[in-house]
Structure formats: structure tokens, C-alpha cells
């Protein structure tokens, strides 16, 4: 059963400046491409602090913001919105490979 249907759980995300990839702020204040390593804010006050930390660590990323997530029983985080799910997981279809001569 996923928690946070009330929208209280958040992680901080941004795009990495050099390559634009989606990153999340971890507990050590580093930006990581792994959602499972993201620092989790469990209430509104913690979310405010997390966003402030993200903005303070914004050198090397673009426009940090909070992403509402759910947490499953085993601790897996998943963004609430489809947009953020796609940001975190990538395309929802298979793109053609560069050397492919046909779309499979």
C-alpha cells in the first residue's frame, strides 16, 4: 500500500546543467540520477527545508523544485504525477536505435 496520498512526501529534483539529465538531491547534498537515493521529506516543514537545501546546492543544476512522491512498503519511491514518473523513468515507448534501419 503506497503512502502519501495526501501529498506530504517530497523529493527535490532538477536537471543537471551539463547534460540536462534528471537528478535528485540525496541526503549528503549531492545530486544523483537515482530516485531511490533521493532525500525524502516526510512533512511540509521538511519539504520547505529540502527545497532550501536544493536551492543552496543549485550550482551545477537548473531550477530545483519539489516532486510529490509515494513510498511503498519496501521503501520504493514513485512520483505521483505522470509527468514526474516520465521524468524519473524515461520514455514510455522504445526509441529507435541509432544503427537500426527499422523501427522494431
Amino acid at each position: 500500500m503506497a503512502k502519501n496520498l495526501s501529498g506530504e512526501l517530497h523529493v527535490a529534483s532538477a536537471n543537471r546543467l551539463g547534460d540536462g539529465l534528471v537528478v535528485f538531491l540525496d541526503d549528503a547534498g549531492q545530486w544523483t540520477t537515482r530516485l531511490d537515493r533521493a532525500a525524502l521529506a516526510r512533512d511540509e516543514r521538511a519539504a520547505e527545508i529540502l527545497l532550501q537545501r536544493a536551492q543552496a546546492e543549485a550550482f551545477g543544476v537548473v531550477d530545483p523544485f519539489l516532486v510529490a512522491v509515494t513510498e511503498s512498503e519496501d521503501g520504493t519511491l514513485e512520483p505521483l504525477s505522470l509527468r514526474e514518473k516520465i521524468r524519473a523513468s524515461g520514455l514510455t515507448f522504445a526509441a529507435i536505435a541509432g544503427e537500426a534501419v527499422r523501427y522494431a
Binding site: 536537471n15 540536462g20 516520465i86 520514455l91 515507448f93 529507435i96 544503427e99 523501427y103
Partner: protein, 557 residues
Amino acid sequence: MPDTHFYRYDDYDRALVAERVEQFRDQVQRRLAGELTEEQFKPLRLTNGLYLQLHAYMLRIAIPYGTLSTRQLRHLAAIARKYDRGYGHFTTRQNLQLNWIKLEQAPDAIAMLAEVDMHAIQTSGNVIRNVTADHFAGAAADEIEDPRVWCEIIRQWSTLHPEFSFLPRKFKIAITGSPNDRAAVRVHDIGLRLWANEAGEVGFEVIVGGGLGRTPMIGKTLREFLPKDELLAYLEATLRVYNRYGRRDNIYKARIKILVHEIGVEKMRAEVEAEYAATKDGALKLAPETIEAIARQFAPPPLRPKRTKVPEVEALKLENRAFALWLKSNVAPHRVPGHAIVTASLKPAGAPPGDASAAQMEGVADIADAFSQGEVRVSHEQNLVFPHVAVESLPEVYRALERLGFAEANIGKITDIIACPGLDYCALANARSIPVAQRISNHFAELSRQHDIGDLKIKISGCINACGHHHVGHIGILGVDKNGVELYQLSLGGDVDFGRTALGTILGPAVEADKVVEAVDALVATYLEARQAGERFVDTYRRIGAAPFKERVYGAV
């Protein structure tokens, strides 16, 4: 490799583009070093066509009037391979988007573009964007004059034009030189249509204030007949009026279509004509030698008339049904007998519309070198075109396209879907477009059925900005987000054909993503039951109205 039959950069063009590459390199270095904030840097990168999307930076490369040499296409493939993930997306504005560019490498990518006289300047921002044209230009049997000459003249005038670098909003111009409009000129900020008057003189109908997006509008005729040499002065007058009166207080009301709508076309015409009267005999009046110098660069390739009935083609037509269908849908008449225009479908069943891998781009370049005078076109319907193919070569071109997966006989059919990148890529989108297009494409993949259904244009946008042109689809599909759920609004009856241009009408409540195919199926079934001889889907819709379609769709889903 054959010579190109279109404009080649001169030293001035090359110097300008090279200078911009170095400026951008310096700007990127300063951003990476923290000397520029994102707020300061964003307008600079956008001016160079570099957007930040959901997952990565996207580089939008201008393909002027949709015309490419094979050298340029191979170079685009090499850039996609070296600096991106090996594929690109051809857009509804005849551009190419690379979706995974790294900021650190973007200056090198645009430097590589400059090697083949290409750039990404003015593919973003509130400026005059890449001018689009009929993708059959210079080849079509129905053409009065090649519109690309005028696109190039406009390109030279509008590139880095100081007065028009901060317009109220972006500005899109399209030109057609044929009575059959393949450039959608009535849904552009300015549409230009070349036509011959009773005296046999060729000039422009100037259409203003068309556009899609949040407030779709069909353009109105500003000037019925404009002599060709007065084009730039008249455009400058129109842009000047827009720049002066266009709204800057509200982004949603800033396009020229809103200005024309609010003050009326008569007032707009009066303003433009007054401005024009004061400037028309100035520096922008085009000298005949200037026009001729540009026109010479678009001189058609020296094609000799050939046999129009070729036994090998006729034989293959009889033995290979897919080839016979391909001849019907993907091959168009050429102005020179014994030659044809071939459209390579970038919509094989289930594929993301408009996407091509680097290997496919190179394959297309090989075909163009062998069979199409080294020239390729990008259509606003997201396909690639070989403009000059001898009829006798059609079997070989077909087989070569089959190997690339681009021989689908579906041009103008239900699976030749226009779709924007949607929520899979785009930071503005509310819903996905490509997976919806893929499901429809797979469902209707059977070619005989597609040809039985006939011409039917489906256009899909993932948000109200309408990059997928859903307003002018025979069936338009607009993705919306309702409380975090993707829903799709259907509209019927849109069209961009000249003289029949129309905006679609919303059918009813939006349907869930997994019901879209069912809904389209219901629309098609209604049409097939009601159609009369020779009617396309949109003709039947116009005759019988929305009610039967509505009843069937909402009964079905």
C-alpha cells in the same frame, strides 16, 4: 554527388554563422563556470535553438524551406550519432529536433552544423522563425512558381533583423507556389500564395493572422495580389504594425492573429498599407537582378522527359500489391514527364511519427544520391520526400525504402499521423502523443484497409499549443490532463486544403487514453457506413454532421 539545386551559402552567410558558433561557445563556457545565471543564459541558448526539455536539452535545427542536400542529411546523421542518441525527430515545421544533446557539447554540435551551412538560429524566441514551404516545391506538376526562392529572400531579410528580434511573440511564415496548398498557409502568422492574375502576372496573395494553439484562427487575406518585387517592403510594413500594436501584456494574446481579430482585417490592412506607402520604394524594393541571382540557385535539375509507362513498373504493380498501393499513395506527379515525386513514409506501423535513426538518414541520403538528384525534402507532415525520381527507377527506390522501413504505402492515410513529441519529451505537454499515435497506427496497420478508408488525416497534440496541428486534422486528438489523468479530446472536420481550410469541432467529452483507438474505430465505422461514392472521411462528416459520429463514439466508449 550531384550539384545542389538550391541556395548555397556565400561568405557573408558563413561568417555570420561561424561568429554565432563562437559567441555561443563563450556563452556556454560562462554558464558552466557559473558566471551566467540560468535566467541570464536561457534567452541566449533559446536564440540558438537549445531548449531544456523533461529529460535533457533539445536542439532544434533549422532546415530552411525543408530542403536538404544529401551532404547535409549525412551530416545531421553524424551529429545525431556523435552528440545525441543516434536518432532525430522531423517536426511539423520542417525542422529536425535532437532530443538528448548535452549543453557541454552543444557548441561543438552547432559548429558541426555550420560545416554544412546549417544552424539553429531563430528556431526559438519571439522572432521570425524558419520559413516553411511546399515540400514538393520546384518539382510539382501543379506548381506556378518555386516558392523557395522567396523563402530564401525572406530568410536573408529576417535573419537577425534588428527591428524584429523582440517581437510580441514568435512569427511563422509559410509559402506555397501551387493552387493545392501543401504548406498550410492559412494557419500561419503570414501565409503567402503565389498565383497568376488575369494578365498572367505572378504575385502573392498575402494572408495574415492564421494560427493554431490556444486560440486557433484561419488567416484573412490582407492583400489579394502583391507584385513579387514588393514582397519584403510589404512584409516589413506588416511586421512593423504587429510590432507596434501587438500585445505584450499577455502571452496568450500576443500573436498577430489576436491583433487582427481585435482590430479587424480592414483596420489591419489600412495600417499596413499606410506604413507600406511610406516605405515601398525604399531599400527593400527588390531589384530584378537580386531576384534573378537567388532564382538561378534554385534552377531545376536538367531532367529530360522520359517514358511515363515503364514495363518493369507495370509488371511489379501487378505482382506486388504493396507496391501498387505505394504508387497510388506515395508517388506524386512531377512537372517533367517520366519523373515523379516520392514520399518516404516516416510512419511505419507502430513507429514514433517523424523519427529516423542515423542509419536511416544515411540510407535516405544514399537513395537521394542514386535516384533524386542528391536532394531530400522534409514535409510538415513529418515525412521525407525525394523530389526528382525517374519513373523507371521507382521499383528500385521502393525496394531501397523497404530495407529502411520507410516504404509504407500510407501517405495521406489513417496511419500517416502527425504527432508532436508530447509528454514523453516536452516540458509544456500535458499528455503523451507518440504512444497514442503508435496504438492507432498498429490498429489500422493493414494496408488494404487503410486504402479502403481512403484519405484521412489524424493529427495529435499533447497540449493546447497544438504543435501536432490537431485543430486541422480530419480527426484531431488533443491530450489534456484532468486531475493527473491523461484524457483525449476528439475534434472532427479540420482541414488545411486551400479553399476548404477549416478548424475542427470538438465532438464531446474527452476519452481515456485506452479508449482512443476504440473511439477512432467508431468514427471510421460511422464514415464507412455513411459514405457516398468518392467521399473522403471529412466530406462525409461535412455532409452528415457530427451527430452520427457522436452517437457511435459515446455509445462505444
